[in-house]
């Protein structure tokens, strides 16, 4: 080892980004026997609810059947990334991804034909395709309007059981609410879901909390379910969840909370631990600073604690995300792709980015800006042809979608990563041949 050391590596496939698109691309590549080199900054994965949406809304209306919604997209918006992918590939992407996450130790429901109506923190719900096992009872309780006790905690901002029950009152009148002190965190100071979740990895803390919940259930009267903010462990939520249900003697469901929330931390810590054990070469919390495209390869440059690192790759998947993740930058003279200054499809002027009303159901043009790709998910240049046969893109960086309004973020991430990996694998196969 030196005090500082510049190092060079080579890989068949480099994945840039560490959100859902980046990590799922690595999972799909490992499935195909390709060992990727993945580099990604911390990113906003920790902000997720934990739900994997396929397609929840079109034109402001909730979709019970996301597949019918995708069929509509094919007719009405054929350039939408989901419209360009066959149902079989989308199903395979979801099923494989949810399966892999479950195998790694974080159980998810099997993605099916219909959307689930899943709970949100403020007493709302949204259509989604797959939810963590710790949250599925909430979907069932809502569907059957079962009497449930929603619990919040002293000092926990951003989640109010009373607000949750009040907003649901019309459709779910049997909801009750209670506020508890979390054992050993009752000074009135701010408490964080992450801290409570870590504490619940310890059996004694589970017992102490369960005793309080049992007391609240007794006071609440007839209750068939208990709903908690998502605090049932970070590393082993399935185990913590089961144990709490045993201790409380009622089915329990988690409700996602506002960031900083636990469901995203679970995913990030799971991926960072479990995927390297499966062979992934991961440089987490590192940002690719420069990307060069050469005739037969791409060169990625980043810096770690010891100096500069270069990675030579035969194929690259850009899963760099949008503005928050740094894949796109909004500047005074337009929207720019940050690594290669790739052409970004975008409104003509800055004045066209937003409509007058932020909540306009038609959405804002800036949200549909992004990279254009061909059917093989290769990034297109200004001439409408692929910039390089080895440069693919996946996830939110793609144009012609509005993942926030359509609730299709995970759908786009997983399905486009699946396709990009499929095409990258074909390219790598050719090169071997």
């Amino acid at each position: 080892m030196e005090f500082s050391q510049n190092r060079s590596y080579s890989t068949r496939l480099a994945v840039i980004g560490s959100g859902l698109a980046g990590f799922s691309a690595s999972i799909f590549a490992l499935d195909r026997g390709i060992i990727p080199y993945q580099i990604g900054n911390t990113g906003p994965l920790a902000y997720t609810t934990g739900y994997f949406d396929l397609l929840g809304y079109l034109d402001g209306a909730a979709l019970a059947d996301p597949w019918a919604g995708i069929a509509r997209l094919r007719a009405e918006a054929p350039e939408h990334p989901l419209a360009r992918i066959a149902d079989t590939a989308i199903r395979a992407a979801f099923s494989r991804f949810c399966g892999a996450v479950t195998e790694m130790g974080l159980s998810y429901t099997v993605s099916g034909g219909k959307n689930l109506n899943a709970l949100l923190p403020a007493g709302l719900s949204k259509p989604t395709l797959s939810v963590p096992a710790t949250m599925i009872s909430g979907v069932e309780a809502l569907a059957a309007r079962e009497p449930a006790l929603i619990v919040d905690f002293l000092g926990l901002p951003g989640f109010s059981a009373r607000e949750f029950a009040a907003n649901f009152k019309a459709m779910w009148p049997t909801l009750k609410f209670a506020r508890l002190g979390f054992p050993e965190m009752e000074t009135g100071a701010e408490v964080y879901p992450e801290v409570m979740a870590r504490a619940l990895e310890v059996p004694a803390h589970r017992e102490a909390l369960a005793e309080r919940i049992r007391g609240a259930v007794r006071e609440a009267g007839e209750v068939a379910f208990v709903g908690l903010p998502a605090i049932l462990g970070v590393h082993a939520p399935d185990r913590v969840h089961k144990d709490m249900e045993r201790l409380v003697s009622l089915p329990i469901f988690e409700i996602p909370t506002m960031p900083p929330a636990v469901p995203g931390l679970r995913l990030r810590e799971l991926f960072e631990q479990a995927l390297p054990e499966r062979g992934l070469v991961l440089a987490p919390h590192r940002k690719v600073e420069r990307l060069e495209l050469r005739g037969d390869s791409a060169i990625l440059h980043f810096t770690d604690n010891f100096g500069e690192v270069t990675v030579k790759a035969e194929a690259v998947i850009l899963a760099t995300g949008r503005f928050l993740s740094g894949g796109l930058a909004a500047e005074r003279d337009g929207i720019r792709e940050t690594l290669l200054d790739l052409p970004v499809e975008q409104p003509e002027t800055r004045a066209d980015w937003y409509r007058e009303d932020y909540f306009d159901p038609r959405g804002h043009a800036i949200n549909r800006a992004g990279l254009l790709v061909d059917d093989a998910f290769r990034v297109l240049g200004r001439d409408g042809r692929p910039v390089s046969p080895r440069l693919f893109a996946a996830g939110a960086v793609l144009a012609r979608q509005d993942w926030v309004r359509q609730r299709c973020g995970a759908g786009i991430a997983l399905a486009t990563a699946f396709r990009a990996v499929e095409e990258a694998a074909a390219l790598l196969q050719e090169r071997v041949g």
Partner: protein, 428 residues
């Protein structure tokens, strides 16, 4: 706490302006979303009414007087977990370091200041005030005792100031000052692998509290003295023994102060792993017939702040080999995402015991969640803090050095070297 109370006469600085100067390329305090991931993941959150998010928001709002006065900066261990989890790469620890340096010496926690002053007092650079001649004498006496106690070690060596030795080994002052018998296992390991090594009478100490005072000049002075000692002896490799921050302070200091180091820096952990892989240290877990469970503390200074995954991998390889694959249980979170135990940053010396133990509760819960009987760590501050947390919160786990278990496995551990082992391992 001693001496760290807020005072009106504290110099006030423009945190936001300073922060902008110190930021790495591409990071921006203006881009803070106030999402709170930093505070959620920081064991110092809530102490002294402060947390990392609040600190940054106050800096952005120009509340410089409040930030210049808050004693929270002495509860932040500068572990950099906030930067690790921040999507915008905002690092609160650099502002904390800056604020620490600006406190008048007499207002800083006296324990940290006294430790630094002791380091400045002699060529030893020892925070416990062990003078060079005392160190040499303690090493000689301890060596004599080991040689006399067991004929297998009649020729054991512990060279000092041996010019041209391949390895320069440093030593945390706690051993020569308080428990010299703990140096024995290290010497036996070095002897077993046939290492060509030496201590130095100058710059031998493996701790640097000057860095924690926020005084860059003092940090530099300590590192310069040590680098000079290593250069002078012409050693090829500087091996930092089982200590976290003393690796970081020299490794980072060489770059930060532009020093010339004619040697490679290395952690002893890297060499334990290398020697095991090469068959020079044929350790195994045969001794662990009871299936005792072990967990591992990743020192922030060694893992997140410096070597990162390669050292984290080596640590796990060594532990698994020593205790058995099935007997190792990782703490969660771990590696680069691990929580600081609360022993770092000078916290153990700062006299703020109530805050330090509140900080350490998260570490205590992490340990208890593993249900392990033993915690291994290659860091003296982690070691002391986790022991104290165990006593304070009623945990029954033991904290052990690596060298203890390596010698236990090799059948080289003397009865006097078992102070950190539980009763079930006293006779093995």
């Amino acid at each position: 706490m001693s001496g760290a109370s807020a005072a009106a006469a504290m110099p006030v600085i423009d945190f936001k302006a300073k922060a902008d100067e110190l930021l790495p390329d591409g990071a921006s305090y203006d881009s803070c979303l106030a999402c709170g991931l930093c505070s959620s993941g920081c064991p110092a959150s809530g102490l002294e009414g402060m947390d990392p998010r609040r600190f940054i928001r106050m800096a952005v709002l120009g509340l410089n007087e409040e930030l210049s006065n808050t004693p929270w900066i002495w509860t932040c261990t500068q572990c950099k977990r906030c930067a690790h989890v921040c999507p915008m790469n905002i690092d609160v620890s650099v502002l904390v370091g800056l604020a620490r340096g600006l406190w008048p010496q007499e207002k800083k926690p006296s324990g940290i200041v006294r430790s630094c002053e002791a380091q400045m007092r002699s060529d030893s650079t020892s925070a416990m005030g062990v003078m060079p001649e005392d160190f040499v004498e303690i090493v000689e006496e301890t060596l004599e005792e080991i040689r006399a106690s067991d004929p297998r070690f009649a020729d054991l060596q512990a060279p000092v100031d041996k010019e041209g030795a391949h390895f320069f080994i440093n030593q945390n002052s706690r051993e020569p000052a308080v428990e010299p018998e703990e140096m024995g296992p290290l010497w036996k390991v070095l002897d077993y692998v046939g290492a060509d090594w030496t201590y130095s009478s100058s710059g031998w100490a493996a701790e640097n509290f000057c860095m924690f005072t926020g005084d860059d000049n003092a940090w530099r002075a300590m590192v310069e003295k040590r680098v000079d000692a290593i250069n002078r002896l012409g050693c090829k490799v500087w091996i930092n023994t089982e200590c976290g921050h003393s690796f970081y302070t020299l490794w980072k200091g060489v770059e930060r102060f532009g020093l010339t180091a004619n040697f490679e820096p290395a952690s002893l952990v890297t060499y334990y792993a290398k020697w095991i892989r090469e068959g020079k240290l044929p350790v195994n877990s045969d001794w662990n017939t009871r299936g005792l469970k072990f967990t591992l503390q990743d020192p922030c200074q060694l893992i997140r702040k410096s070597i990162g995954d390669p050292a984290a991998d080596d640590l796990r390889f060594v532990v698994r080999t020593l205790v058995g694959e099935d007997n190792f249980i990782d703490m969660q979170p771990n590696r680069n995402a691990n929580y600081c135990c609360g022993g770092g940053g000078g916290f153990l010396q700062a006299g703020m015991n109530e805050q330090r133990r509140a900080y350490g509760k998260r570490k205590y819960d992490q340990i208890i969640a593993t249900d392990a009987s033993y915690v291994m760590t290659p860091c003296h501050n982690c070691h002391s803090q986790m022991e104290d947390l165990g006593h304070h919160y009623g945990g029954s786990y033991h904290v052990v050095h690596f060298w203890t278990l390596i010698c236990l496995s090799l059948g080289l551990l003397a009865d006097t070297e078992r102070k950190y082992l539980g009763p079930e391992l006293q006779d093995i």
